[in-house]
Amino acid sequence: MVKVFVPRDSTALSLGADKTAKAIQLEAEKRGIAIQLIRNGSRGLFWVEPMVEVETAQGRVAYAPVKPKDVASLFDADFLNGANHALYLGLTNEIPYLKNQQRLTFARAGVTDPVSLEDYVAHDGYKGLKNALTMTQEDIIKTVTESGLRGRGGAAFPTGIKWNTVLGASGEQKYIVCNADEGDSGTYSDRMVMEDDPFVLIEGMTIAGIAVGATQGYIYLRSEYPHALHVLNEAIAKATLAGYLGDDVCGSGQRFYLEVRRAAGAYVCGEETSLLESLEGKRGLVRFKPPLPAIEGLFGKPTVVNNVISLATIPIILDKGAQYYADYGMGRSRGTLPIQLAGNIKQGGLVELAFGVTLRELLYDYGGGSASGRPIRAVQVGGPLGAYLPESQFDTPMDYEAFQNLWAVLGHGGIVAFDDTVNMAKMARYAFEFCSVESCGKCTPCRIGAVRGVEVMDKIASGKDHAKNIQVLRDLSDTMLNGSLCALGGMTPYPVISALNHFGEDFGLDKGLNEKESVV
């Protein structure tokens, strides 16, 4: 029976994948052809979703984008045998966008049925855990440390060092908490892991639990991701039933339980201490650090808090070894980064590559330029708290330190492109507005500063006391940057001041006379 794949990823669904799947099923029935319709994850080529694949003797062949109206003509053209058609893209693995990527964390995304444990195991799943179960806790952590993996949520803290702190902390009960509160605009790689390959996250958390001696894991999932919730719960149930989770993980005698907790739409809960407060059933107010969550985390117990991508990268490191992973990348940024192209971009999608690829390569070689066809004027990298970069900085390599040197951040690897119709002063105002909506209210620079920021941007727009208000904007940003408790208030100045420094003309400053000074 011919296997036909239609993705169930929510972005694919947002473009009509369910209707396409139904149309294919009906057309096959009508023609009396038996097919096996598999709802796979997405390969991440979102600009051509819904992308339908057919398994042939030569390999999987892709057709995209397939709308219900195209289905009859696909059957007429004999797409079930991989025949040519106007929507024919050739062998999936040979599509340049995909072929040139280095997919480690996302090796299975779009290849497998996300909720099939058999599929997962058949595609190298649970090899990392099997290896980990033969190792000492210290050796597992040493492998993670030597791989060079740094926190992919944005803070880029070495994962192995964090785990080692939790291992060394005393306490009967320890926890693994997965931060799946992916609220940054322009990012969706966490969602893709959870919807398109959930077992890899489950496996990564299980390895983390065994490494540090934690028996309970929680996935703190944002409420805006209902599809991910269903997929994760189904995958956890299957993993538990098959003995990969529970009282006796793979017959090792070790326990590890996993539960998904739904968040409730507070951006600040992506900050780890706020997240822990929320998990404990409280308002998501940021905690003072120290103590670090690794020492006193969830319910005061030693806790590993890692981002989805960090945890989902653990299995391949334990499977292939630290050196295999560390061989990718540049400088102190080892391995690969799943980059997400978003905003005004022609070919938006997931691009996983070793650190070192430049913004320009991503925007033009992969992204194909802007969706509107106009010049790309600015990109925001790393979510709403990330800096805006002008065209003159597009040759910067994706590398934590290279971005830091520009007073910018890589964050979670999301890139939002804007064409030349954007008003950067408006984007700066929006950054303050967002901060004022999402501030937890605990510290004054963030709570009051964000509101004052909106006001001063309005004054700048009105032109009243212009030079003075530009100075107020810089002073206010300086206060927020240095005086806020967490990254929400502390990094809101990044988009604001980078917009001011690089796009001063939008703030009413003469072009060519931009103030060169910066708050850093």
């Binding site: 992916e182 605009s185 998501g284 905003g343 938006g348 999301g414 937890c440």
Partner: protein
């Protein structure tokens, strides 16, 4: 949190008159329950329409013209954010990122995301749920 989700999933909002019962069950004060509910954007304290239309206001969607789309949707429905159409069918809410940023602008009707949307599609969606 799971308790509040269960209530809202069931009846669409968290009525203030159940605060005392929640407080008692969770060994909290009524003020703490109020503080918790109002901290989180997801929880609502007023009834909503039969369907919820969430429009993304984040940067990626702005880069693809979501501001104009927001204005057009409000005009089309004749309501602002956090309001419900006169026929009780649709409640309009803002949302900050649906994680579908490769295909901006995006909206979510109940649990379904729609990518690269325009007003024609929104109009169709709204009439589907209004007549359905």
């Amino acid at each position: 949190m799971p308790l509040l989700h269960a209530i809202q999933d069931d009846i669409g909002y968290i009525p203030e008159d159940v605060y005392p019962q929640i407080a008692q069950a969770m060994a909290l004060s009524v003020a703490e329950v109020h503080g918790f509910v109002t901290f989180y954007h997801h929880f609502r304290t007023h009834p909503v329409g039969e369907h919820i239309l969430q429009v993304c206001r984040a940067e990626s969607c702005q880069a693809m013209g979501s501001e104009q789309l927001e204005a057009d949707i409000k005009a089309k429905l004749g309501i602002d954010y956090h309001q419900t159409t006169a026929d009780g069918k649709v409640t309009l809410l803002p949302v900050y990122c649906l994680g579908s940023c490769a295909c901006s602008p995006a909206v979510m009707m109940d649990d379904d995301v729609y990518g690269r949307v325009d007003m024609a599609q929104i109009t169709e969606l709204v009439s589907e749920v209004s007549n359905g």
